[in-house]
Point group: C2
């Protein structure tokens, strides 16, 4: 894939120009300075929408917006968009039939060597590839939003995806400084959302029990787990917490407390009926609205970038 | 409490010289330059232990170690340690009887105006204060380890704790740049551990199901939730994810996926018997050992400090 990064005319086709597709387009343009982007989307205002998103997102990234935008074209036809592409990245509707049809069509028109990536947050490649001739070519590359800021990419092959396709996918992302992680089994929600939603359920439960309010709970996370887990994930953190004996020693020493918390969580989730659509949502949403109004995501992204720079500088120093 | 910070001879008594107690001692010495610290602990090697910990922890903090250490004394008697103290901070064994006895004794010898804080991770102030004359004085101030690095302090009053004591406690911590958060109800594990352990259980479950291995799971968190939640906690994040409609809109749009993840989590936790002491621990601990050996906590702390500086600089800019 290094050869891919050196080639002048690497064309990346972005199928579906929602915010995730355009964030990926911006990422490729910024990190892979010789690529070109072809965007395919059927929305009628696609030209205006892309221009507006890109000028906002590229502003302040230290690039010349005009010359960067010259590397981006909008195609009216899928066939045209994927022609000569080295990568086809799909962010269409989360609808299995759409994806099955679209991949079969893409396979017909794209080069035999092109990589096929779906950004789906839940529909496994093994289902999407149903009507493809060569099912070894497709895998899921699930971002953490927005991908032009967040380094994580969950790479989820189907049981049929070839190792060569996985390897080339990892190489591309590592080559532009991202952090792809292979998920070993297709599973509900993949990993990042499963973890985040588990904590989120507990958060909703604690607010519903009246233990803490929404804004203070966010403060708790921002001043403890957030920074800690930026530097060392949960296993490494608790392993360090156990001293020389590591995680085993941690679980021996405070396992009782851990289990008490798990038991209390189960009880409270049940008591508060913390399922989507139940009554607890009213108060939690009310508090969140009151606390934040409309969030300035530009400010959030600027600060996130600083945090990521801080932790990656430190890595280089070590 | 501003007056407290200006007084030359504010004495803070640290009861129990484990790593939490000494980390608090270092924090007070560094952030409150006119305070003095009295440490009480019955361990026979207390002098050597304190000297070793402090020289390691103060090194590189940009202070003169000798003059800083002159503000710290070790007392052989509880009575002497708490005499004239403005704050008494307890980090003794997590044993209810010990705490009940100790607080009754502290109350006998400390000034009437001293603040009483327990660093317990689980024993509520309402139980610890059982034999105190004035139960309005005690509350829990639970740190996120190590407190000389991490900004969060969970302030957990008992139903008897007076508002004045809560207010003075918050003022002290805010005055030295920390982030105290009031927990509204005494509950199992307070908030930070409840949240972190909920995600940790899901992490153990996903590793046990063979979806991902320990080291990759940590990579996922370090490159997604970690930096995101450093900048915006879970409610603010999902509120932003919902666009102008906020959290309500987020739950309307992707609530189905959230619920599917919650259901899958429950099923997998059951299937893997993810309770403390069960078989899953063997493989999870093995992978963690293999991935990390003994963690260099000094490196972790240096990097955490950089992340915290990055996010707080950005706050000032806004």
């Amino acid at each position: 894939m290094e050869t891919m990064l050196r080639k002048r005319e690497d064309k990346i086709a972005i199928i579906g120009a929602g915010t995730i597709g355009l964030s990926f387009a911006a990422l490729h343009l910024l990190k892979h300075p010789t690529c070109s982007i072809a965007i395919y989307d059927t929305r009628p205002d696609v030209h205006d929408y892309v221009a507006e998103y890109m000028s906002k997102t590229l502003a302040g990234a230290g690039v010349d917006i005009d010359s960067t935008m010259q590397r981006l074209r909008i195609s009216a036809y899928l066939q045209e968009a994927v022609l000569d592409a080295v990568i086809v990245q799909e962010q269409g509707p989360e609808n299995l039939d759409f994806k099955i049809t679209t991949w079969a069509e893409i396979e017909r028109y794209a080069p035999k060597t092109a990589l096929f990536w779906s950004s789906t947050s839940g529909i496994p490649a093994s289902q999407q590839s149903r009507n493809m001739q060569d099912k070894t070519r497709l895998l899921v590359v699930h971002p953490y939003n927005p991908p032009h800021i967040m380094p994580l990419l969950e790479v989820v092959p189907s049981p049929r995806t070839s190792q060569a396709v996985i390897d080339e996918t990892l190489e591309y992302w590592r080559g532009i400084g991202r952090t792809p992680v292979v998920i070993k089994k297709e599973c509900t929600g993949f990993v990042a959302n499963r973890l985040a939603f588990a904590l989120f359920r507990e958060a909703c439960s604690l607010v519903t029990q009246g233990v803490i309010d929404v804004k203070d709970l966010d403060e708790v996370v921002q001043n403890s787990m957030g920074p800690r887990w930026t530097v060392a994930g949960p296993f490494k953190s608790y392993h360090a917490g156990g001293g020389d004996g590591g995680l085993k020693s941690f679980l021996n020493k405070i396992g009782g407390t851990v289990q008490q918390c798990w038991d209390a969580s189960e009880k409270d989730v049940k008591k508060g009926s913390i399922a989507v659509g139940e009554d607890w949502q009213i108060e939690v949403c009310r508090q969140t609205d009151e606390a934040y109004g409309v969030v300035d995501t530009r400010e959030r992204d600027t600060r996130t970038r600083s945090v990521l720079e801080a932790v990656s500088c430190e890595e280089e120093v070590q």
